[in-house]
């Protein structure tokens, strides 16, 4: 685990530092926090330990009391004694839950480390329970365990579980566009308006706001990834014949423009029309960013691995705000999906995949970047050492995609720097 690996791969001629060791990251269960807000008819039942329940309530903060649509079936000693009991117990818990919550239309049984290690077959449980409760409730399963998933990969696993139950797009149907990755409603609506103005008629979203309302998929589906952490989902979509539209991720002026243009090209939209449609948004974002650029230009930034958003965000901060990238760490580097993003990285950018947190912190202390993007377990300790930080989770929970959020995204990085300079005590 602790062996220091020399740079062992080259991506587009770029060395990648690969490390194994202690990782200071969330597990995939955390995805439930935003997924349950996005899919209004879905309930997430984690089958796990008290640790899992504790994680969810720690991550959800006070949201836990806003009638959440998630819970944990906490395994106790008697559940570990024999598999048969565990399945019976699961039936009992699910039946009780569905009686109490008749509004649930989709139930996700979410696997955890303990349930995966004892090989509790949740897929089978989902099938068995589904047979009983369909058509009223659809029961699906995915794993959000830490041994298999890091933070946002929980969303990837969840969406990949939805792909097989998407309706089939008829073979002769015209091309349809699919936006993949959960976005805040306000951002999703902005994108849908832009696609409508471009004349791309039918646009589906995965996840849909109701999990029982899934868009169709087939050989004539063209999908755009809105998020960089959706490798499994992309594979599942490809398995159903869909094809990915290669583009930058829609962060900032250029990322959003590229993303929209790539879709327009794929759908044969006239270039002049495309430029006309995106011009107002581009201009608004450009003006807004020009106000923030002076605060960020020339500032050195390091990213610790968290969500896989690191590479596209680094590209945006470097290209559009003039920041200098020191280290860009990501929990997992999806070469194909990020190839275009990596093209603009300068030769001195240190790209790392995986984590050995102690060694990475040694590098942060040696580099002393102006701002370090990291998790909440590290942020205050680094501040105490005199390093300015930006906590990473906010980048997953805030609206940051698209033209009209480009400046909000820059502000998330500018604010800690401004605050550092403001405080006199």
């Amino acid at each position: 685990m602790a062996e220091a690996k020399a740079p062992s791969a080259r991506d587009g001629g770029r060395p990648v530092l690969r490390e194994r060791g202690q990782r200071e990251v969330f597990c995939g269960l955390t995805g439930i926090i935003w997924l349950h807000r996005k899919m209004q008819d879905a309930f997430f039942l984690v089958v796990g330990s008290r640790t899992c329940a504790h994680l969810l309530q720690s991550a959800a903060g006070v949201m836990i009391f806003a009638e959440p649509r998630f819970a944990t079936a906490i395994m106790e000693e008697r559940d570990l004694a024999g598999m048969v009991d565990a399945q019976d117990e699961l039936d009992r818990v699910v039946n009780r839950l569905l009686e109490r919550r008749p509004d649930i239309k989709t139930l996700f049984l979410v696997g955890s480390c303990p349930s995966e290690v004892i090989k509790l077959d949740l897929a089978k449980a989902a099938q068995r329970l589904g047979a009983v409760h369909m058509p009223r409730v659809r029961i699906l399963n995915y794993s959000g365990s830490g041994i298999e998933t890091t933070f946002t990969q929980g969303e990837d696993a969840c969406l990949a579980a939805l792909v097989p139950v998407m309706p089939a797009l008829a073979a002769g149907a015209p091309k349809e566009l699919l936006i993949v990755g959960s976005l805040p409603d306000i951002v999703e609506d902005q994108f849908l308006r832009l696609f409508a103005d471009l004349g791309i008629g039918k646009v589906g979203c995965l996840p849909a706001r109701n999990a029982r309302d899934l868009p169709a998929v087939g050989a004539n589906t063209r999908y755009l990834l809105a998020q960089p952490f959706l490798g499994e989902t992309a594979m599942a979509l490809e398995g159903r014949g869909a094809k990915r539209i290669d583009a930058l991720f829609p962060f900032g002026v250029e990322g959003t423009s590229d993303w929209l243009r790539a879709a327009a090209r794929e759908f044969g939209i006239d270039t002049a029309l495309t430029e006309r449609v995106i011009a107002p948004g581009r201009e608004r974002a450009r003006i807004a960013l020009s106000k923030l650029r002076p605060q960020l230009e020339g500032k050195r930034i390091s990213f610790l691995p968290d969500s896989q958003l690191e590479v596209p965000l680094a590209r945006y901060l470097q290209d559009e705000l003039g920041m200098e990238l020191v280290e860009v760490g990501t929990p997992y580097l999806h070469r194909a999906h990020l190839a275009r993003e990596l093209e603009s990285f300068g030769p001195h950018v240190r790209l790392s995949e995986g984590q050995h947190v102690e060694r990475q912190l040694d590098r942060v202390r040696a580099d002393r970047p102006d701002i370090t993007v990291c998790g909440l377990g590290l942020a205050n300790p680094l501040e105490m050492e005199g390093l300015t930080t930006k906590w990473a989770i906010e980048l997953v929970f805030s609206p940051i995609h698209g033209f009209d959020q480009a400046a909000d995204l820059a502000e998330l990085f500018a604010r800690p720097l401004r605050r550092r300079d403001m405080l006199e005590v």
Partner: protein, 525 residues
């Protein structure tokens, strides 16, 4: 399997983290999968610590299972000892590692590390956070205490005490300790050691040098104190000094063990709570019905303060940990209520709704339940959120703690004079139900408290007590309903319930004006 949205306690290894983080120069090597580092946030964010907890997580992944997880553990342990240079390490497993059976204890022992490696057996599927903290502290004390320590005769030297129990993430532990030190100073008692908070493993070796122990938080320190009693013949003070009366008893107990005069400590002039409680503005507190829930230590202390020092009526009392339920049962008997021993927040919510208290004292969870039911609330026990790790000095213990408690508990209630005015001008158009106490937003708006049907929670939330539509609304005549509306909102719920109970007991099929006032007379205090 237990269906839970909220858990009052984390798993036992979080208790072990609380002990490790409290101490200095101790490191915890935790066999755990990726993701269990979430617990670091509790310390860095909620408690706002400026240092990472001293925990190395082995971070095994699915691909490691069944082959080299044991090797991963040993590498992590070796690296942690080299990097952090601790005086001792504790080793153990989180819930997932418990299932893969790598035996951290045996693995650490086989390594011949240069420092003591203390193994922890924390059964994650039976036990919880506080138990984990207690067990960890006990194991550390048992392994590190130097048993050859012999105390010098007492003549000609001050008495020495250990203060046991304060941890990281403890509710007000930082400030309680300040108050306890003040009391010991006044009594001329020397502090031999505070542990776990601030102690190093080398400090723990000297634990036998004290004449007696002070068990501040039984949930955490009781087990270690019992062992110390057997091993070093150290008696323990187990009175928890929360409240004026309990603080006085505590002072008397410490003075007795130390052979000191309690007078200087008892004469602490900063004790304002007794006068505040006797002053006439507090008259309106008399008989206010209060529901109390938390850990056993804080719940029992709160019940005594409520009864004996503020003149409240305790209408519900409970705790979430079975290990200490006995004290809660005894105190509940004194209060004349059924004890509620449960870690199921839904059961607590039902009990609060049924008791219809005027004030709830509890944890972060009860704060939310009370908000939903529109009942004033104050926090008395962990689990708590970031605002209950305040910047200002806010102890619960000692005389200053009693001052803090008076302010904290009374603050959410409508002030005495205001309550009087509201009663006088009860039909005034400006005093609507929406207006809670004027000095802050004590209540959430009542209309919003009714859950939206499409968002029905896991449990059926009881309709807010204070403002529910009448069950079988035909029971009340329109005239009686109008009269009920004239009763101030903060007692209306109780009036409604009392009247309906009275009508049922009397076998009256309708509630008219007559019944309303008959009931009022029947329940007159």
């Amino acid at each position: 399997m237990q269906l839970a949205v909220w858990t009052y306690e984390g798993p036992p290894h979080v208790g072990a983290m609380r002990v490790a983080t409290a101490m200095e120069k101790l490191h915890y090597v935790l066999h755990a999968p990726q993701g269990d580092t979430y617990a670091d946030l509790l310390f860095t964010m909620i408690e706002r610590r400026g240092k990472r907890p001293p925990v190395t997580y082995t971070t095994f992944e699915a691909r490691d299972l069944g082959k080299d997880t044991a090797q991963i553990f040993q590498d992590a342990a070796r690296e942690a000892v080299t990097r952090f240079n601790p005086q001792a390490i504790i080793v153990g497993a989180s819930c997932t590692a418990e299932l893969i059976q790598d035996d951290p204890a045996g693995l650490a022992e086989a390594m011949g590390l240069p420092v003591p490696a203390i193994p922890l057996e924390l059964p994650s599927y039976q036990r919880k956070e506080n138990w984990g903290a207690a067990e960890t502290f006990y194991q550390i004390v048992r392994q590190l205490a130097d048993k050859s320590v012999v105390r010098a005769p007492r003549e000609g030297r001050p008495a020495r005490a250990n203060i046991l129990g304060p941890t990281a993430l403890g509710f007000r532990h930082r400030d309680d300790l300040v108050e306890i030190r003040k009391i010991l100073d006044a009594l001329g008692v020397e502090v031999n050691l505070v542990a776990p908070l601030g102690a190093t493993p080398e400090d723990i070796a000297r634990i036998g040098a004290a004449d007696f122990n002070i068990v501040l938080y039984p949930e955490i320190a009781d087990e270690a104190a019992r062992w110390l009693e057997r091993t070093f013949a150290q008696p323990a003070v187990r009175t928890v000094p929360i409240g004026v009366g309990a603080t006085r008893s505590f002072i008397a107990d410490v003075a007795e063990l130390a052979g000191a005069d309690p007078t200087p400590a008892l004469g602490d002039t900063s004790s304002r709570m007794p006068w505040w409680s006797r002053s006439v503005d507090s008259t309106y507190l008399t008989g206010k019905r209060v529901f109390i829930f938390g850990d056993a230590t804080h719940a029992v202390a709160a019940a005594r303060i409520a009864r004996e020092e503020l003149g409240f009526e305790v209408c519900g009392l409970g705790c979430y940990a079975r290990e200490f339920a006995r004290d809660v049962r005894a105190e509940a008997a004194r209060c004349g209520v059924e004890p509620l021993i449960t870690d199921d927040h839904l059961a607590v919510e039902d009990a609060i709704a049924a008791a219809a208290p005027e004030l709830v004292l509890g944890t972060q969870m009860e704060r939310h339940i009370a908000k939903r039911l529109g009942i004033p609330c104050a926090v008395i026990s962990a689990p708590v959120h970031v605002q209950d790790f305040p910047a200002r000095h806010s102890p619960q213990m000692g005389f200053e703690g009693a001052n803090v408690i008076f302010d904290t508990w009374v603050h959410p209630l409508v002030m005495g004079l205001e309550e009087h005015l509201l009663t006088m001008f009860r039909e005034d158009f400006e005093f609507s139900d929406e207006a809670g106490a004027s000095h802050h937003a004590a209540h959430s708006p009542r209309k919003a408290a009714v859950p939206v049907v499409s968002e029905a929670p896991v449990t059926d939330i009881p309709a807010p007590v204070a403002e529910t539509a009448v069950e079988g609304g035909t029971l009340w005549t329109a005239e009686a309903e109008r009269e009920l509306k004239k009763i101030p909102f903060f007692v209306r719920g109780k009036a409604r319930r009392n009247t309906e109970n009275f009508a049922a007991a009397e076998g009256r099929a309708r509630i008219d004006l007559e019944t309303l006032y008959d009931a009022k007379a029947h329940y007159a205090r």
